[in-house]
């Protein structure tokens, strides 16, 4: 009903434009409807962002904890016992707690921060603003999307506090470990809560994704052809398509896993002995779960990275005062990545006994992803080439993104080869690869987005000095943390192990691991500085005085500084040109709303 009301008021507002009604007066907002169950896409974006930040602090703190174990396996930290209780008896994290921390770190960062916090925030904020819509296609579903995410968050948070601890079978939740409560202490109620939380999360993503797609396809303002949209919108569009098509498959996998756990079915279980006793389950296949999981799991990494790519494209063009290089090639490569994302999942499963003949196809398709990725990298570099770059924190993070995307992407070529993967699978090399290419890069894209659109969110700027400190420490720190892990991985050091100092061949990395842990602590501290900057700037940041502080062409900067629900007080502006007319015809930038001149060429 309420979404009807909003759609309705959209039409009323268009009437209202003639007699200069203030849009605000259609909604007498109470605190609850404005800040809590808000249907305004801008408020929902803030809700996603702040929830994401809270999760990011928790998830990153977990990584500090387990890095302490990896870096200093013999040391004891009595303060750990005071926060973790019996999970860190005597000041040393127990093996069970270690596995739980690793699992939760992965789950939180991949799903709650880099999926919901990243695309949830910026798709919500930017899609209506940049395509010129009053709100999403269905503001009510959008509101539901956030609250399903919130519920998922609550359940996941609750799982941290149950007596047997949260799920601890790795973020991929492979059976049989995750399917049998007796298999380990972390496979008990923790896994049920994990699956419940993730099911709610999938619902949230689907509601959000449906909205993003139908808003982009249906609610664009007059003149906003698909090929005039900023690249951010294209990337959110493909992200949403990936999510809508792959999350349901994950849900099927989870439903079967839940049945195995509680209904005694044997989808994934066969011939298992626990504590010397044979289980009745027969005929299942654990590999089946891996297929279902990675059919989502691989698109998921693009769900994480595509929004970052889109925002980086936008920020790089704005800050180097140049049109984006190869606009159509950028869209084409996003499309190619989107298609290939569904055809490469088995490269996570080269060592599961996959038919080598089949594996060869997956190798080929995986390596094909290098082509669109390289096109994008080339276009980013040529965009800033000879540009008049403003080194704002946002543009630094964008440039940092390109750097980490290259260095992390190159190691993907190693891992994508099934024969090399046999050696590198489940080693620290994999950790290094995906943290740089997906974790750090996506975070850089997110930071770029936050610094760049913070004025749009809160009408104030973030502090740039802290921003520069944040960037340089994070950039250098990220390489110092993850680069050495490549060497550890090539030497065969396995991931997920609680303590590798028992092996003579990995003992040599003791000093290196200590070093990594110290850098992790430093980088974590700087992220807290960022969080401080974020919250401080919401209330005390330098105020925005002009509508368009970055001199950008796109539509979001034509709205008032504190835009109400409905975004534009009058009519929605009409669009005449693409979003990248920078340094054209002797002008620094030409907004999208300016008609094409008589002697002007359309791009």
């Amino acid at each position: 009903m309420s979404n009807e009301a909003t759609l309705h008021s959209q039409q009323e507002v268009m009437h209202g434009a003639h007699d200069h009604h203030d849009h605000e007066h259609h909604h007498e907002d109470s605190f609850i409807s404005k800040y809590v169950f808000s249907m305004d896409h801008k408020m929902i974006a803030k809700q996603f962002l702040i929830t994401g930040i809270v999760w990011a602090i928790i998830g990153a703190f977990f990584s500090v904890l387990f890095r302490l174990q990896l870096g200093f396996p013999d040391a004891t930290f009595p303060w750990l016992e005071s926060i973790l209780g019996h999970w860190a008896k005597g000041g040393r994290i127990t093996a069970e707690a270690y596995y739980a921390l690793v699992t939760m770190h992965g789950t939180i960062l991949v799903f709650f921060v880099l999926t919901a916090g990243l695309s949830g925030t910026f798709s919500n904020l930017l899609i209506p603003l940049q395509v010129g819509a009053r709100d999403m296609a269905s503001p009510f579903m959008n509101c539901l999307s956030y609250w399903f995410f919130f519920l998922a968050s609550l359940v996941m948070m609750a799982s941290l506090f149950v007596q047997t601890g949260p799920a601890s079978g790795g973020w991929t939740m492979y059976p049989p470990l995750s399917a049998l409560g007796d298999a380990s202490i972390g496979s008990k109620i923790g896994v049920d809560l994990w699956l419940t939380s993730m099911a709610l999360f999938v619902v949230s993503q689907l509601l959000g994704g449906l909205n993003y797609i139908s808003t982009i396809l249906n609610m664009r303002t007059k003149g906003m052809a698909m090929t005039k949209m900023p690249l951010t919108i294209w990337s959110f569009f493909f992200t949403a398509i990936l999510g809508v098509l792959s999350f349901p498959v994950l849900l099927s996998g989870f439903i079967l896993l839940l049945m195995d756990r509680h209904a005694g079915t044997s989808f994934y279980l066969s011939d298992i002995f626990i504590a010397g006793k044979a289980l009745a389950n027969e005929g299942g296949s654990a590999i089946l779960y891996q297929h279902l999981f990675w059919f989502l799991g691989h698109p998921e990494v693009y769900i994480i990275i595509l929004p970052a790519m889109g925002m980086v494209s936008e920020v790089l063009a704005v800050s180097s005062r140049k049109p984006i290089f190869g606009y159509l090639a950028m869209i084409g490569s996003l499309f190619a990545i989107c298609i290939l994302a569904f055809l490469v999942w088995a490269h996570h499963m080269f060592v599961t006994g996959l038919n080598p003949f089949l594996g060869a196809f997956f190798v080929l398709l995986t390596l094909l992803i290098a082509v669109p990725s390289a096109i994008k990298v080339f276009n980013w570099i040529t965009t800033i080439w000879k540009g008049n770059i403003n080194f704002t924190p946002a543009s630094l993070f964008s440039i940092g993104f390109v750097s980490t995307f290259i260095s992390g992407g190159l190691t993907g070529i190693w891992l994508g080869n099934s024969s090399i993967d046999i050696h590198l699978h489940d080693t620290m090399f994999v950790i290094a690869h995906f943290h740089i290419v997906m974790g750090v890069s996506a975070f850089f894209g997110m930071f770029a987005g936050i610094y760049h659109w913070f004025p749009k969110l809160y009408g104030r700027f973030m502090n740039s000095t802290i921003g520069y400190i944040h960037f340089w420490v994070t950039m250098v720190g990220a390489y110092l943390i993850f680069w050495p892990m490549h060497y550890e991985g090539m030497a065969g050091m396995p991931r997920r192990y609680y303590d590798v100092s028992n092996w003579a061949s990995f003992k040599q990395f003791g000093g290196l691991n200590e070093f990594i842990t110290i850098v992790v602590i430093l980088v974590f501290a700087v992220q807290l500085l960022f969080v401080f900057n974020f919250f401080y700037s919401i209330f005390k940041g330098r105020k925005m005085t002009t509508l368009n502080p970055w001199h950008a062409t796109s539509l979001e900067w034509t709205t008032p500084i504190h835009a109400g629900h409905g975004n534009w007080p009058g009519e929605i502006p009409e669009v005449y040109r693409w979003a990248y007319d920078y340094s054209k015809d002797g002008r620094d930038f030409i907004p999208q709303t300016e008609p094409i001149g008589p002697n002007e060429e359309v791009h």
Partner: protein, 188 residues
């Protein structure tokens, strides 16, 4: 309002659009299940059996309900509200009857010695049919909301969009069931 709708520049109503994408999404979920089924079937220890016969009756029921909701939509557009209310009630009842039939199907399976925790081939039937049944019941809930709206006296709705969305969804779960039935009968 007509001119305004033009200015909105929407070719299809966004809710209908969202529905089409949602149907794609639900389809992906069942593709997930059925491809898992195919993968599993090619492995050892696959037990083949006849589907319970009541599934054919439930097919007839859901096909009829598709017809009734189609007629309901027609009656709504002609503003025969009395007939419309009767027809959506009938559709909702048929939806519940369908779910009951599926449930009876489950007990027949059990009686055949194929419980949920029995052979994997049977477990798949329970899960696939069960999840589909939930989607039909979701449609029933949507119809109940429509029903409530039709009885409101204070606010009257003239927009056919909600009932069109519901009808499209209803046909979708119908077609989905026919696909599943054919799939489960052939790929045994």
């Amino acid at each position: 309002m007509d001119t305004m709708t033009l200015e909105q520049r929407k070719k299809i109503h966004p809710h209908k659009y969202s529905l089409w994408i949602a149907m794609g999404s639900i389809t992906m979920m069942f593709i997930g299940f059925t491809s898992a089924y195919i993968v599993k079937r090619s492995q050892a220890n696959w037990l083949a059996f006849e589907l319970p016969h009541i599934f054919w009756i439930s097919t007839a029921v859901i096909l009829t309900s598709s017809l009734t909701i189609h007629l309901a939509l027609k009656q709504f557009k002609e503003r025969n509200m009395q007939r419309y209310k009767q027809l959506i009630t009938l559709t909702a009842i048929l939806g519940v009857v369908f779910a009951v039939c599926q449930w009876i199907g489950f007990s027949q399976l059990k009686a055949m010695g194929l419980p949920l925790n029995g052979p994997v081939s049977a477990s798949f039937i329970y899960v696939i049919v069960g999840v589909h049944m939930l989607h039909v019941l979701g449609g029933v809930i949507a119809l109940l909301i429509m029903f409530g709206r039709a009885y409101r006296t204070r606010i009257r709705t003239y927009s056919a969009v909600p009932i069109e969305v519901a009808a499209t969804y209803w046909h979708f779960v119908d077609i989905l069931w026919i696909y599943l039935l054919i799939f489960l009968s052939i790929a045994r």
